[in-house]
């Protein structure tokens, strides 16, 4: 596939663009202005970026208060600290109080690689998915990131944007239009569905190409909105393709795969495989190494899909 893009750049440039048109937009960060790619934002809008220091609880509480005061705060911080350290502020000050705060977790999943388990953010979807009144968006490429940031700004209420730092190819056509709550079908097929979000979307597409060589036609759906999840797309996948593989850069407990499984199990049960980090703290290694280690690769997705298809065939 094509050139790789860091979605944080699309996030930062889009936020800048939105801020230009809407004086209510402000940014907060926990001394991670540069890793959130907001240095340029800080130059353009020195009075609208608040580096609140290494203090995530106060950062999220402040964002809630600023929203109360009429601002639209985008809180950009490493996802592990943003969601873990400030979880109660996210629950009470943002979601329960229903303030118009946009939480932007950067360097999500395994992106910090060898920095280890303290820095991996593979629980954030599960934590935030359990909180009422929370919208969760996991964009797959820079195009979708840009649109997701705009959608979050337009949406009135709490949103969690999950932004990787890993280079990803563009998987959408130029005319793609992201809509909160809508999955998008990137490839047709009726033998099995590969459902993915974020960094696993291009890998699912590559897996589908491999499966085609084995005469298995895989449907690929990008489910960027993990909450509220697109139930219709999931039911259609279950009914029309008979089995589903999910793939995510997150623990398999309570994340994207669980969200899909909740719909499948209660509407049209079909066999599933949930690929992700299998409930362990990752060993030392680069992100690519860890993706290989946990089978979050085109091959890994292909193998899971093949197994599902074969187990469904008459003996």
């Amino acid at each position: 596939m094509s050139e790789l893009h860091d979605c944080r750049k699309a996030f930062a440039s889009t936020l800048e663009d939105i801020a230009r048109g809407d004086p209510r937009v402000v940014a907060l960060s926990n001394d991670s202005v540069s890793s959130a790619k907001l240095s340029h934002f800080a130059e353009v809008f020195p009075d609208r970026l608040f580096n609140v220091g290494i203090a995530e609880q106060n950062m999220v509480g402040m964002a809630s208060g600023m929203a109360n005061g009429g601002k639209i705060p985008f809180v950009a911080a490493a996802a592990c600290f943003l969601t873990g350290r400030a979880l109660e502020q996210i629950k009470n000050d943002v979601a329960y109080t229903d303030t118009n705060v946009k939480l932007c977790g950067v360097s999500t999943g395994l992106a910090y690689g060898p920095l280890g388990g303290t820095h991996h953010s593979i629980e954030d979807i599960a934590w935030l998915r359990a909180i009422a009144n929370m919208t969760i968006i996991v964009p797959a490429d820079s195009l979708e990131t840009e649109q997701a940031v705009r959608a979050a700004a337009d949406f009135v209420g709490p949103v969690y944007l999950r932004l990787s730092r890993m280079g990803v190819p563009v998987v959408h056509d130029a005319d793609y239009r992201f809509e909160i709550g809508k999955a998008v079908r990137l490839r047709d097929g009726n033998d099995v569905t590969l459902a993915a979000c974020g960094t696993l979307v291009p890998r699912a597409l590559a897996a589908a190409t491999m499966l085609e060589e084995e005469d298995i036609q895989a449907r690929v759906i990008n489910m960027a909105t993990v909450k509220p999840i697109d139930r219709e797309a999931i039911v259609a996948a279950a009914v029309e393709t008979g089995s589903i593989v999910t793939a995510e850069e997150h623990t398999v407990y309570g994340g994207f795969g669980s969200a899909v499984a909740e719909v499948v199990a209660t509407t049209h049960p079909v066999p599933m495989r949930i690929l992700g980090v299998p409930g362990v703290f990752a060993p030392t290694g680069s992100p690519e190494f860890l993706f290989e280690h946990f089978g979050l690769t085109p091959q890994g997705i292909r193998d899971a899909a093949r197994e599902l298809v074969q187990s469904g065939e008459p003996q």
Binding site: A55, Q57, G61, S64, N68, G69, N92
Partner: protein, 275 residues
């Protein structure tokens, strides 16, 4: 709202205490001790024109903000809001009843409530954000937040304390209800807070220490805000948990005890006498 004299305000605060206690009795739950300790402060804020709020337009963009960080004193907040005209007083009888909007902790569905508090250590960070928003806009509205004292054991307060000084939020006023008790014992016997005034000074705040039950002193203090230009304001209000009722005052057991019939009658009699 026009300011009233401190005598009249004292009377109002004791009427609030009576209704508050009946409310707790009716609900079979609530936080008796902490409600009674903050009653004079809330009466001053809402019934004497300290807060620029309009019960008929509770979300007016230029209103003053009040964050009730000690959310367990929801009973006092609701009673005061009802007295201030935000909703009918009769509704207080629904406190904590099924589907009532008067939840056991403050909820934004109640007119006049700014945030869903109850988890401690949340109010000050939110108040810092609100005050910062007002500064950005050059707006004249002010932000107030009331915390308990035991609550200051939560580290989030001190993150917010540093930020407030950094941003020179002299439009922010923190009131600490220093009743010297937390749930089961005196703060100083659990994890001590003293020297508390020194701590706030050291964090860059302008500090006033007052008797949190003396209405003249409360009003004088609030009218002196900002105490110093460029510094956030801290009012350490020395109070008594259970103030106004002899057998509740300074008794940790009354943190969330509900009065019996006899206790309620005895307490109301004392409160009427003091009003």
């Amino acid at each position: 709202m026009m300011p009233i004299d401190s005598q009249a305000l004292h009377k109002k605060a004791y009427e609030i205490r009576q209704r508050n206690l009946v409310m707790i009795y009716e609900a079979g739950g609530g936080h008796t001790g902490g409600d009674l300790s903050s009653a004079d402060i809330l009466a001053a804020l809402y019934l004497n024109g300290v807060l620029n709020v309009d019960p008929k337009n509770p979300r007016a963009p230029d209103r003053d903000r009040f964050f009730m960080s000690k959310g367990h004193s929801s009973g006092l907040l609701y009673t005061t809001l009802a007295f201030a005209g935000f909703f009918p007083e009769e509704e207080l009888s629904t406190f904590m009843k099924p589907l009532s909007r008067l939840n056991g902790h403050p909820n934004v569905h109640v007119p006049g409530v700014e945030a869903n508090t109850g988890a401690l250590g949340h109010g000050l960070p939110m108040a810092v954000g609100a005050a910062l928003a007002a500064k950005m806009d050059g707006a004249s509205w002010r932000t107030f937040v009331l915390t308990g004292d035991g609550e200051l054991q939560e580290g989030s307060n001190w993150e917010a304390a540093m930020a407030a000084a950094q941003y020179q939020l002299d439009n922010l006023t923190l009131i600490v209800d220093r009743n010297r008790f937390q749930m089961i014992d005196r703060t100083e016997r659990i994890v001590g807070l003293e020297p508390l005034a020194d701590k706030w000074h050291a964090f860059g705040w302008s500090v006033r220490e007052i008797n949190g039950h003396d209405h003249a002193e409360i009003m004088q203090t609030f009218s002196a805000i900002p105490f110093e230009v460029g510094k956030p304001n801290c009012v350490l209000a020395y109070t008594h948990k259970g103030e106004g009722v002899s057998f509740i005052k300074d008794r940790a057991a009354w943190h969330h005890r509900v009065p019996t019939d006899e206790e309620l009658n005895a307490a109301l009699e004392e409160l009427r006498g003091a009003a």
